[in-house]
Symmetry: C2
């Protein structure tokens, strides 16, 4: 099943994505049963981030080639960081590049696990069962700010820097897929989605030794490579079996 | 006015705190009008964190004495970090010290601004008007983890490490108050709440150059000093004009 959130009359509504339509739902599939209360054509859907997480977890270095490229040490244990909900934006909404950003402005294509159950002190198998489904994230990063600042607040969490979507796919072996990053229709990077140092379930086992994860929490799994973006570009992140997250890049002040 | 969230029959309900009772409200005062739908005696209230923020912002070094004590450089601009909602706990709920924690386990008494309006590109005056009210936070920190880890995930965000409450006070000049930290009834630290390098409105002006803050977001303002805690201790953070946030410390496994 593919679940999404779409904007209907300016309000967020959960949807179930079919071939050419989105069934509108009476409630969140993360919270149990729902009724179908309407439908919109797929082509007319206004896509929102498929979930607004209680906690937005993000992995840093997790792909061997990214680690080698950055000259970083391979992590010896799963350590988690955070991103911020203000930065989320949906499929087909613009990524706004602030006018102040100088230097590299980059995409990072990421697999995202969406949590479906409350979890603490989880085993690996319990962690597997607690993942509701999978979506796609693009961890937009302004490198000069990343290097100049004490935290990632504006380098990775400025408004629109975290496109996520288009939907949550519940029936896919996410770690057996291929991630592809396209810019303006040309492939810029391609890698096995599951080629990670620690997989999502390793992370959940380690995290839940100390924290409770809750339904709707998201876990962004890091990227294998990055790619420079310029205003006017269209950046697509595809994960086979899940979908394509597509966003244009617009310079601040030009987006309306 | 003092607004709180209390647990009634296992569900969170907003409340308006009076002398000896809490009026139960039909909705969030952050979202507009509400009706009074019941009442509970103040002494019987089960206090929840007064808000669960969309984004949980936290200031690091912001008091001259804390900066000097840590041997850190005085920040030349407001830079913001994050904490995680899983760690929130309410007034009178226990702080659980994990058995694995070694070394210093410390309290940090903090003023917390609760945002009431959507804000972007704010002036200082707009930032002042956007603060709905003020509450109290205790930024519990496990120092060995803080030094050993790449992020603050478990050192500052383990479950129960972020007591917040007891309520949101809307009518107080928060920066003119005194913060006092008590352990087992003895004063361990006392400082002028407003003796900050950058005040909450300075932060909001800088933050909203790049991020949109939303109603319910919280901004923890840092601490002037820290104090060691042991299992069995009761730690009270008082900010005059707001209230007292009180929590006991319990060793993991002993709390039930």
């Amino acid at each position: 099943m593919r679940y999404a959130r779409v904007s209907v009359g300016g309000r967020p509504v959960w949807g179930r994505v079919r071939e050419s339509d989105v069934d509108l739902l009476s409630g969140s599939p993360l919270e149990g049963a729902y009724d179908v209360i309407g439908t919109v054509p797929l082509a007319e859907a206004h896509w929102l981030p498929p979930v607004v997480p209680p906690v937005f977890y993000a992995v840093g270095f997790n792909y061997p080639r990214h680690i080698a490229h950055a000259g970083a040490a391979t992590p010896d244990r799963p350590e988690i960081g955070y991103r911020a909900n203000n930065a989320l934006t949906g499929h087909r909404s613009p990524i706004v590049k602030p006018r102040e950003v100088e230097g590299r402005f980059e995409a990072e294509p990421e697999l995202v696990a969406v949590i479906g159950r409350t979890l603490r002190h989880a085993t690996y198998d319990e962690a597997r069962e607690a993942v509701f489904g999978w979506t796609i994230g693009n961890d937009i990063s302004a490198r000069a700010w990343q290097h100049a600042d004490r935290t990632f607040w504006r380098s990775k969490n400025s408004d629109t820097f975290k496109p996520m979507g288009p939907w949550i796919e519940t029936d896919v072996d996410a770690l057996a897929q291929t991630t592809t990053l396209w810019v303006n229709g040309a492939v810029r990077s391609q890698f096995p989605t599951g080629d990670m140092v620690f997989d999502p379930f390793d992370y959940l086992v380690e995290m839940t030794r100390h924290v409770t994860v809750h339904p709707g929490d998201v876990l962004w799994m890091g990227a294998e490579s990055t790619c420079r973006l310029e205003p006017g570009d269209t950046v697509d992140v595809e994960i086979s079996g899940i979908g394509v997250l597509s966003n244009s890049v617009q310079l601040e002040g030009n987006q309306r």
